[in-house]
């Protein structure tokens, strides 16, 4: 077991060393002449507006919460999967009860609309709809 994890450790160490060496190499070898245009975020000339730290939608949080609960459930499934054949029907029923109780939870968040990403499909956003004046103008131009 420890040997398998030593593989993981080796992998991590090699990954870190590889990235470290490459960054250092590029530091050493690169030609450095800073220029305001070169240092701007988009060299094509588009100027970024505002801050890149924007407020996230709360839906991310709700989904992450639900994900976490079901992730914990999945973790319980792994050890069961390794032994359920040897323990037979009893273990199967036990796990079905466990999964059923959590399925009730899934049904709950589903029906209550917590999994819905786009919650306002029924009502079109008035800001996006063309205003009446604009519509008239378009029609006037067309005729």
């Amino acid at each position: 077991m420890l040997f398998n994890f030593a593989n993981v450790l080796t992998f991590i160490v090699f990954g870190a060393v590889f990235v470290g060496i490459n960054i250092t190499l590029s530091r050493i070898l690169q030609a450095r002449n800073p220029h305001p245009v070169k240092l701007s975020t988009y060299e094509c000339g588009e100027l970024p507006e505002g801050d890149s730290w924007i407020q996230f939608n709360i839906r991310f949080y709700v989904i992450a919460l639900i994900f976490l609960i079901f992730e914990v459930e999945i973790v319980f499934l792994f050890p069961w999967a390794t032994v359920f054949k040897e323990l037979g029907l009893f273990a199967f029923v036990e796990m079905m009860i466990f999964v059923f109780i959590l399925l009730v939870g899934l049904a709950y968040v589903w029906v209550k609309g917590d999994l819905e990403w786009d919650k306002s499909t029924a009502v079109p956003d008035p800001a996006l709809a063309p205003s009446a004046a604009r519509q008239e103008l378009t029609e006037a131009i067309a005729s």
Binding site: F56, L65, V75, F78, E94, I101
Partner: protein, 163 residues
């Protein structure tokens, strides 16, 4: 000193150091990254204790779930990344005294106690054994956990919902 000892001290240093970054950094996002490495360090220690399944669960749940949730929580608030999250009252001296006292008590306890030791450590996969125990001896805690998760899910969804 053999390899596992050296590895233990490396992981312990990683855990404590990252936890320090987490506690003392002014920017909450850096704190979260500190927490990430602290979780990894703890996972490493679990591996050295021959608890392979727990180590993987630690990474899966804490790094893959709880930490992401924390980061989302931070991003929900626009201001949090810009302000200094440390409180103004530092109370450095009392804190040092209390922490030092707790450390002294713990060290004294660890050294003076007749611990029940597990004997020699065998590095074997533990997933099967955990599965067996979960289905037999620890059946009730396992099933209670599902009801607990259901209640937590309903509660969390209710609180996080907007209306």
């Amino acid at each position: 000193m053999d390899f596992t000892n050296i590895a233990f001290y490396i992981f312990a240093a990683l855990t404590v150091g990252s936890a320090g970054v987490m506690v003392f950094h002014r920017n909450v996002v850096y704190s979260a990254v500190g927490l990430l490495f602290a979780f990894f360090g703890v996972a490493g220690i679990y591996v050295l204790l021959a608890a392979d399944f727990i180590a993987i669960v630690q990474i899966l749940i804490y790094v893959g779930g709880i930490l992401i949730l924390l980061l989302f929580g931070v991003m929900l608030s626009q201001k949090l990344t810009k302000v200094d999250v440390r409180t103004e009252s530092m109370q450095l001296v009392p804190a040092v005294v209390v922490v030092g006292g707790v450390l002294a008590v713990l060290l004294l306890t660890i050294s003076s106690t007749p611990w029940k030791l597990a004997g020699s450590l065998e590095y074997e996969p533990t997933t099967k054994a955990i599965g067996r125990l979960m289905m037999t001896e620890y059946l009730i805690p396992f099933e209670i956990a599902s009801v607990l998760l259901l209640a937590a899910l309903i509660g969390a969804a209710y609180i996080a919902r907007k209306n």
